[in-house]
């Protein structure tokens, strides 16, 4: 089946269902998704959450919708999902296809619902105990629209970690609609450490996520988005009583990349806390996006919310769209937000030069230092080094030297 998503614009529910090849007797979750999609409409450049991202040109292309043909996964070290199909699972780990039974009916992102409608099933991952798992996504098709979604559960009182990476063959012009529905159990911690290095013109991605942080639970979301191309990650986070989210986003972009984060963190429960930090390094003609709202509901007394974005522009054609926002309905809270954009510090560059380090090398040291302040928040040294290497690889291959 071929599909141009923009053709779904201004269509009725029934027409959309038909165009997506959905039959009459839809399960309730798909019925609800259809309802929400038709209410929200297909995103355009006027949609608030897509205002800095060139969504229309992506949705205007005609793609071959990828057919999911599940097969028996082999036992391995990691979870490997290739083109939306589980192909490898660690021994004893529960990773399986299922229907989505816990759709978020108040997500702001229409692509969240489109992804759910297009994905024939969700991939459920039940994280047992203090699991530490590596999750690899792999894409091998060109010109494809690949919709798939993960539903992730962990256990109460447990502390699980997912290290997520993305691989690709030499493909081009694909669009991946992906994302999590994450349910973080009471009194638990879930850490998601995502590293996504992208080459120019391989695939674009819209990853639309929902994270429900239950009472007294902790979410730790660290994303390292490196390289080129177009990708947007959208988060909707709901925070329960005494719950906490610590989100950090590193962007290193080059060439014509347009990537970044759109997020809404909703403080719903009392004493919930959020901390979100974006560090952005923009090279070439790249555009970085950090469009992040923290909303503190009437019910969320005594919350703490801190949000900050720092951007370094390495090239005069690079651009950062940083929009940290606070929406607050109560008085009893502690909140701060801010955004800065600047260049590397001349004084620092000069200091290094005065010790015999070249201008180019000095700039590189300072860029890596800036990135390291976030990479070092990944406590596991093996993964910390892996991310450092991924960063340096993206930086050393993509950095466009600037004349003095």
């Amino acid at each position: 089946m071929r599909l141009t998503i923009n053709n779904l614009k201004k269509k009725s529910k029934d027409e959309i269902a038909q165009m997506l090849g959905l039959t009459d007797d839809l399960p309730p979750s798909k019925e609800a998704a259809l309802e929400r999609l038709s209410t929200l409409g297909i995103p355009t450049k006027k949609s608030e959450e897509y205002r800095y991202f060139d969504v229309e040109s992506l949705l205007d292309k005609s793609y071959e919708v990828h057919m999911h043909v599940p097969k028996e996964p082999k036992i391995g070290e990691k979870i490997v999902i290739e083109n939306g199909i589980i192909i490898e699972v660690p021994k004893g780990m529960r990773v399986y296809y299922d229907q989505c039974d816990a759709l978020d009916l108040t997500h702001y992102d229409p692509i969240y619902y489109l992804g759910h409608l297009l994905a024939p099933h969700v991939i459920k991952i039940d994280l047992d105990g203090d699991a530490e798992v590596e999750l690899v996504h792999r894409y091998t098709h060109s010109g494809a629209l690949l919709p798939y979604r993960i539903v992730l559960f962990n256990q109460e009182n447990r502390h699980a970690t997912v290290y997520e990476t993305f691989e690709t063959e030499e493909i081009s012009d694909s669009l991946i609609l992906y994302g999590y529905d994450m349910h973080i159990a009471k009194d638990s911690t879930l850490r998601l450490i995502k590293t996504q290095s992208m080459d120019e013109n391989r695939y674009a991605m819209i990853s639309s996520n929902r994270i429900k942080v239950n009472d007294h639970a902790n979410a730790l979301i660290k994303t390292f988005d490196l390289g080129g191309d177009q990708a947007l990650q959208l988060f909707k986070v709901d925070l329960g009583t005494y719950s906490h989210i610590d989100a950090g986003h590193l962007l290193y972009l080059n060439h014509q990349a347009k990537r970044g984060t759109v997020s809404k963190i909703n403080h719903i429960g009392e004493h919930s806390t959020s901390q979100q930090e974006a560090k952005n390094i923009l090279d070439g003609n790249a555009r970085g996006i950090f469009d992040a709202l923290i909303k503190v509901e009437h019910s969320a007394k005594w919350t703490k919310a801190h949000q900050n974005s720092k951007a370094i522009l390495l090239h005069e054609d690079a651009y950062m769209a940083a929009k940290p926002q606070l929406e607050i309905y109560i008085d009893e809270l502690e909140a701060s937000h801010g955004a800065t954009t600047g260049q590397l510090d001349r004084k620092q560059i000069f200091y290094l030069q005065s010790r015999g380090i070249s201008y180019v090398e000095a700039r590189k040291m300072l860029v890596i230092a800036f990135a390291n302040t976030l990479i070092e928040t990944v406590k596991d040294t093996r993964h910390q080094e892996r991310i450092q290497k991924a960063f340096e690889k993206a930086f050393y291959t993509g950095h466009k030297e600037l004349k003095r």
Binding site: Q348, F350, S354, G356, E361, A369, N372
Partner: protein
Amino acid sequence: MSNNKNEKVLEIKDVHAKIGNKEILKGLSLDLEPGKVHAIMGPNGAGKSTLSKTIVGHYDVEMTGGDIIYKGKSIKDWEPEERALEGIFLSFQHPVEIPGVNNAYFLRTAVNAKRKHEGKEELNAAEFLREMKKYLELLGMKSDMISRSLNEGFSGGEKKRNEILQMMMLEPDVIILDEIDSGLDIDALRAVSEGINRMKDGKRSFLVITHYSRILDYIEPDYIHVLKDGKVIKTAGPELVAQLEEHGYDAIEE
């Protein structure tokens, strides 16, 4: 003193220099001899730091006239890193803090850049650390200086000692010390001076910029130059220090 060209390692010739629109150095001339300690003294705002910045090629300074000859070559158009690689070192009055850049990693990069420039083999991490620890001990510095970020959160004394550490490991030929003594307690002053004195080898030259004469009790100068209003107005032997202390800079005649 001799006029023999070979006995000057650095010749500053009638240098005029601006910062912004303001002319700070107004025809400054000064020669440094190999193996000698030259002290520059002068009132606040005279242009002492500007002189040091001019020699190392700081971006703040625009040279509008004159020349700087180092080992027989004009360096006024050289990049700062070329000047450093060729052996000019400035200990900054206010060393900048660089969070995220590990102190040892930084210094190893600098040392190896210079070794490479000189056609020497680069030091591996273990070899370098052994060297660095030796100097840390000598300067009375804590071993956490290895793992901390460059100058980040260092006390005034720690910053100055870290400058001297770099000087010792980079083994430069011309060493400019801009107010190395300011803000140092007596222990730090001793440690820093000892480091400097160890570097005296009869070939290296020192340009010791100071506002006070205190440091000159520890590092015996061969020449005293008085800098005032962008020019060197007097050059004499160490006996000038006592005179300056007694009568101040205003008493110096051009």
